[in-house]
């Protein structure tokens, strides 16, 4: 009896001490291993209540709740190639392009992706894609690459342009058949027949243009280096510079559904808001995301931006002033 109690006490102590000194493992956390605030996002699109963004090392993320939560639908595992642009052809069909001439296609609104094209030999980037009808799709990019697909982005054929291999940065079009492409060193190309024949416009700027947008009717905006923004009210025949009071380069934009206002974003969170008369409404800056590359306008009129340091930020105060 005495023996049992005293020895079992010792055994109990030994067991507890062994437990106390057994290896203490750090508990594993099962959080999303990708911190989107640390991923460079190059383009952002809003389709049918869904936000889809593409960027560094093939990252594609999808949000169903206006950017509160994001789901990574493409990672760097197979294709570790940075994506530069995403375009919605329909509500369901999406096209993402990027470096090494990568083209990815999704038929389920961005959840799964199929590789259409990749060229690791040259390793040159595509910088964008554009489509008027979701069936005929243009992709374009570095060194004058300009390809057309007639089957909604499944196969592509190179197209001729009257240029010397300049980088093509952006393309836009109206509801009719006018199309404008901007690029390196003030390059502006225009087509009035839906993209078959192209003419090179007289240069109005000697720096590079990074974006072009169609507002409505014959009104267009192009923007680029060092805060240069140009407005055209006559389908590109003449362009006037909009003085935005800053010298930071601009890389992305969003146009209000009415086409009456437009927002352009760029380096160091620089943000320009202008109207369809080519007048500057407001400039500002959104801190914390570094250089901004893209923006969308959510249904409630809020601005959602993305850039060098992810896409986690919304600006409320600017929206109020802007949406009126």
């Amino acid at each position: 009896m005495y023996r049992v109690i005293s020895y079992s006490f010792c055994l109990l102590v030994a067991a507890l001490v062994l437990f106390a000194f057994s290896p203490r493992g750090a508990e594993e956390e099962n959080s999303e291993p990708l911190n989107l605030g640390r991923v460079q996002i190059n383009d952002l699109v809003a389709v049918n209540g869904r936000l889809i963004a593409v960027g560094e090392r093939g990252t594609i993320v999808v949000s169903e709740d206006n950017g509160q939560n994001w789901q990574v639908t493409h990672r760097d595992g197979e294709i570790p190639v940075t994506l530069t642009d995403i375009t919605a052809l329909t509500d369901q069909v999406l096209l993402a392009v990027g470096h090494d001439s990568v083209i990815l296609r999704s038929e389920d609104a961005g959840l799964s992706w199929e590789l259409i094209e990749r060229d690791s030999e040259l390793g040159e980037p595509l910088l964008g894609s554009w489509s008027a009808d979701g069936q005929n799709v243009y992709v374009y990019g570095s060194f004058g690459k300009f390809w057309l697909s007639a089957d909604a982005g499944r196969t592509f054929e190179p197209q001729e342009l009257p240029i010397y291999g300049e980088h093509l940065s952006a393309m836009a079009g109206d509801e009719d058949k006018t199309r404008i492409i901007v690029g390196e060193m003030g390059l502006v190309l225009r087509s009035f027949d839906g993209g078959d024949a192209w003419e090179k416009l007289d240069p109005f700027y000697n720096g590079s243009l990074f974006g072009v947008a169609h507002l409505h009717g014959t009104r267009w905006v192009a923007y680029g280096m060092r805060g240069h923004v140009f407005f055209s009210g006559d389908d590109g025949d003449s362009w006037t510079q909009v003085n935005v009071g800053g010298e930071l380069p601009l890389y992305g934009h969003a146009v209000a559904s009415s086409g009456k206002q437009m927002l352009i974003v760029g380096t160091a969170g620089f943000l320009v808001i202008m109207n369809d008369e080519g007048e500057l409404l407001e400039t500002g800056s959104i801190g914390g995301l570094g250089t901004l590359t893209s923006a969308v306008i959510l249904p409630d009129g809020e601005i959602f931006v993305a850039g060098q340091r992810g896409l986690m930020q919304r600006s409320h105060n600017l929206v109020a002033a802007w949406a009126k």
């Binding site: 009896m1 005495y2 023996r3 109690i5 005293s6 006490f9 010792c10 102590v13 507890l16 001490v17 437990f19 106390a20 000194f21 290896p23 750090a26 956390e29 959080s31 291993p33 911190n35 640390r38 991923v39 460079q40 190059n42 560094e56 090392r57 760097d76 570790p80 190639v81 940075t82 530069t84 642009d85 990027g98 470096h99 090494d100 060229d119 690791s120 030999e121 040259l122 390793g123 980037p125 570095s142 980088h167 940065s169 390196e184 060193m185 700027y205 720096g207 590079s208 990074f210 280096m225 060092r226 930071l248 380069p249 890389y251 380096t267 160091a268 801190g287 250089t291 590359t293 850039g307």
Partner: protein, 799 residues
């Protein structure tokens, strides 16, 4: 058995005779040694060799040492000028202060002048891609005069310089001056004094801080300066501990002579130790600076035992010399064995594979061994010359026929029911302790420099800088080797994509502030060469595409060697807390495992966080080894002494419980298990075992005389308990004062040691007798000795 004990006794007796007979020449010899060591000790130097903190055999550290010549360590200092007023930093007052601080830092001797960078230095340039191509210039124009226009220009240039997050705070609330330090001052050829640099930096702070401007300074040199300043404060704690000990000693023995003698004798091993260290060419490291204090405390406790025994004999009517002789005979064996046990405890510390800890172990071991000479040989000689004062005669003597007021009620723990209560309480404590101890963290628990407290100025500065900038001082380096052979590895897309992958995923680890890699720099440069368009910022899949980034592949950025055969990826972390370090290392190892690229080999890990990770792993490995070795050797020693398995259990059980409780205490107080605290556990067990041995030895002796258990335990307590408790309290208070030390690791050590000393004595006076009583009831622990008075002739009853 008995014969052997008799032999030992005869040996001790003979030694005592010789000691007393040669007391004059021996005393002279000891004094001579003391003078010599004392003289040597005056030259002892503080030796904060921070390389000693590296666990050299860890694979991380082998890599670190291998690459330390390739990539120079970043021994830099960051002076952040913080704007406390309205708006951001672009105002004349702030920029003027920043310019002056830049100049002041520039002229500090030992600063590598070319390395000084701030918005005002010519090496900080902005690059702008314009219609004509690249433009680059200094950020602050030479004609800058503080006008609104100039301020706007500085703002613009800064934004284009890429220095936001680096030299300028992310929220534009501060800007910093960064400078590298040299080891040797090229003007004088002297070794650069970190303490002097720290003082000059402090002067800068004093000059420029005002209502609008705050100055935050971090850097290894500043830290060294602050730590050294903290060490000087430690001397005051030594003084306080000394005064408290003196007071307690006097209260205990009420004899000025004994108090003074005990203190002097306790100081001797400290003096000898310091002298010996100097002769051995060793200095005192900030971490082992507490060892002399500890030696002093242990010295006092042993001196008390000896003087106590001497006093009892003097009161019993012996002359001073006879009493000294008999005190030596009684105390030498248990005392020397206890000291050997302590030395063993300190020796076990050397299992931790870190030079600084070896040093601590050697220092402590040496100190305790010296004590065998000073305390066990020199002290009896000294007291043989002493006359006891009257006042001291009546204290601590229990009159015949009366029970001791404390020990008699306490001896009830020897009764079975009370014993069960003790068991229950012990188990309750142990269950709680074991559960809580699971939260113990290996490594640092808080951010900032672990040497200093969280609320110290340095750590506040560090927190302020980490919060504002994307860089800091906590960095981890991953080395990258590649087998590209001929040609430039930086132009190999496979290599660059592998590095990019590490950079990309490491950036996402929680607590990582930013990552610097050649791939990251390459992307920025490639974008810069393509109209500055961020969509070009990528690693292309072709050599031609990579050529656009060639400016980034230069060795002057410190990320690659010429030709890119070897690269490093630098990871800036927000802290070096143990969990953060472990998580980061684990995750980086996962990322590296997922990189399937045969051309590239990644090697962990440099930087202070790499060192931290290696130390933490060494500590983790050593923890179990150390405790195992310690308990095993204590068990073996106890078995050799008492020849009873149950005696071993009686002594080991309380120790094991206290060790667990100590872990729980650390977890509760937010003290991490690390290089500075793990040795404390060994010290605590090493010192704590004394109580158990002393009390059990007496208990066994009394039991062998045929007394019943409670009576035997009561007798043991009357003879040994008071001295043990006094010792525990004195030592706890002595080391407990360190809790207020300005240096964090000293405070941690102090709290833990005080806890170990105090709680071990409770284990020895409550749990030990309760357990022994229950064992004794099952079967007597000790056979009753027929020959009365043969004290050491204790034979074993099988356990």
């Amino acid at each position: 058995m008995s014969n052997k004990h008799k032999n030992v006794e005869r040996m001790v007796e003979w030694s005592a005779d010789r000691l007393i007979a040669w007391r004059k020449p021996l005393l002279a010899l000891f004094l001579l040694i003391t003078v010599a060591f004392g003289y040597s000790a005056t030259g002892i130097r503080l030796d904060p060799g921070f390389n000693k903190q590296i666990p050299v055999n860890h694979p991380f550290m082998q890599n670190l040492l291998h690459y330390s010549d390739t990539f120079s360590g970043a021994n830099n200092v960051l002076v952040s000028v913080r704007w406390k007023g309205e708006g951001d930093i672009y105002n004349p007052e702030f920029l003027s202060a920043l310019r002056q601080v830049t100049d002041e830092v520039f002229f500090i001797p030992g600063v590598r002048r070319a390395s000084v960078s701030s918005l005002f230095t010519p090496n900080t340039r902005y690059i702008e891609v314009t219609e004509q191509g690249y433009i680059g210039d200094v950020v602050v124009p030479p004609h800058f005069n503080g006008s609104e226009e100039d301020l706007q220009q500085v703002r613009r240039n800064t934004e284009r310089s890429g220095q936001i997050g680096q030299l300028v705070a992310n929220d534009l609330s501060a800007a910093m001056v960064r400078a590298d330090l040299q080891e040797i001052n090229p003007q004088t050829g002297d070794k650069v004094s970190y303490v002097a640099i720290s003082r000059q930096l402090e002067d800068i702070r004093k000059t420029f801080e005002n209502d609008n401007i705050g100055i935050d300074i971090v850097g290894f040199s500043k830290l060294t300066g602050d730590v050294v300043a903290g060490l000087i404060d430690v001397m005051w704690f030594f003084l306080i501990a000394f005064v408290i000990t003196t007071l307690l000693l006097w209260l205990y023995c009420r004899s000025v002579k004994l108090t003074v003698v005990s203190l002097l004798v306790a100081m001797l091993p400290v003096v000898w130790l310091l002298g010996l260290l100097r002769i051995m060419g060793m200095g005192i490291d900030p971490m082992s600076i507490l060892v002399p204090f500890l030696i002093f405390s242990i010295g006092v406790s042993h001196a008390v035992q000896m003087t106590n025994a001497w006093k009892q004999d003097v009161l019993g009517g012996k002359t001073s010399m006879e009493a000294a002789h008999s005190a030596f005979c009684k105390i030498f064996v248990p005392g020397a064995l206890a000291l050997l046990m302590n030395a063993l405890g300190f020796g076990v510390i050397m299992l931790i594979d870190i030079p600084i800890v070896h040093e601590l172990g050697v220092t402590a071991c040496l100190g305790v061994l010296l004590m065998i000479i000073t305390n066990k040989m020199m002290l009896p000689i000294i007291i043989s010359h002493l006359q006891l004062e009257r006042a001291a005669e009546s204290i601590n003597v229990v009159p015949d026929g009366r029970r001791h007021k404390v020990w008699w009620p306490l001896s009830r723990v020897a009764e079975p029911r009370t014993g069960l209560v003790v068991f229950a309480v012990s188990l309750l404590l142990l269950v709680g302790g074991a559960w809580k101890s699971r939260d113990l963290i290996v490594g640092d628990v808080s951010a900032g420099a672990p040497e200093l407290r969280a609320e110290s100025r340095y750590n506040q500065d560090n927190a302020s800088i980490v919060e504002r900038y994307s860089i800091g001082l906590d960095l981890l380096t991953v080395y990258v080797e590649n087998q590209v052979g001929d040609g430039d590895a930086c132009l190999d897309p496979d290599v660059m994509r592998a590095v990019e992958k590490l950079d990309f995923h490491t950036r996402s680890i929680p607590g990582v502030q930013s990552v610097a890699s050649v791939a990251g720099m390459g992307k920025v440069t490639i974008a810069g060469n393509n109209e500055g368009n961020p969509r070009w910022a990528a690693i292309p899949g072709s050599e031609r595409g990579l050529q656009a980034g060639s400016q980034a592949y230069s060795d002057e950025h410190g990320l690659v060697v010429e030709g890119c055969e070897t690269m490093q990826v630098v990871v800036y972390l927000s802290s070096h807390e143990g969990t953060q370090v472990e998580r980061t290392i684990n995750r980086i190892e996962e990322i590296i495992a997922s990189i399937d690229e045969p051309k590239v080999e990644f090697k962990l890990a440099g930087g202070n966080v790499g060192v931290q990770a290696a130390s933490n792993e060494a500590v983790k490995k050593a923890e179990v080894q150390m405790h195992g070795a310690l308990l095993a050797s204590v068990a073996l020693f106890c078995w050799l002494t008492f020849r009873s398995f149950r005696a071993v259990l009686c002594i080991i059980m309380p120790l094991a419980i206290v060790a667990t409780l100590c872990n729980a205490l650390m977890a509760s107080l937010g003290i991490g298990l690390k290089v500075a605290t793990l040795p404390v556990l060994a010290l605590g067990v090493g010192v704590g075992v004394d109580y158990g041995i002393y009390i059990y030895e007496r208990l066994q002796h009394e039991l062998s005389l045929g007394k019943d258990f409670r009576e035997a335990f009561y007798e043991a307590m009357v003879q040994r308990g008071t001295a043990s408790l006094f010792t525990a309290v004195t030592m706890s208070i002595g080391v407990g004062t360190w809790a207020f030390a300005p240096l964090k690791f000293q405070a941690d050590m102090g709290i833990l040691l005080a806890f170990m000393f105090l709680v071990n004595v409770f284990g020895a006076i409550f749990l030990l007798p309760a357990l022994a009583a229950w064992f004794n009831r099952a079967k007597r622990l000790v056979r009753v000795e027929r020959v009365k008075g043969a004290e050491m002739a204790v034979s074993e009853a099988a356990g």
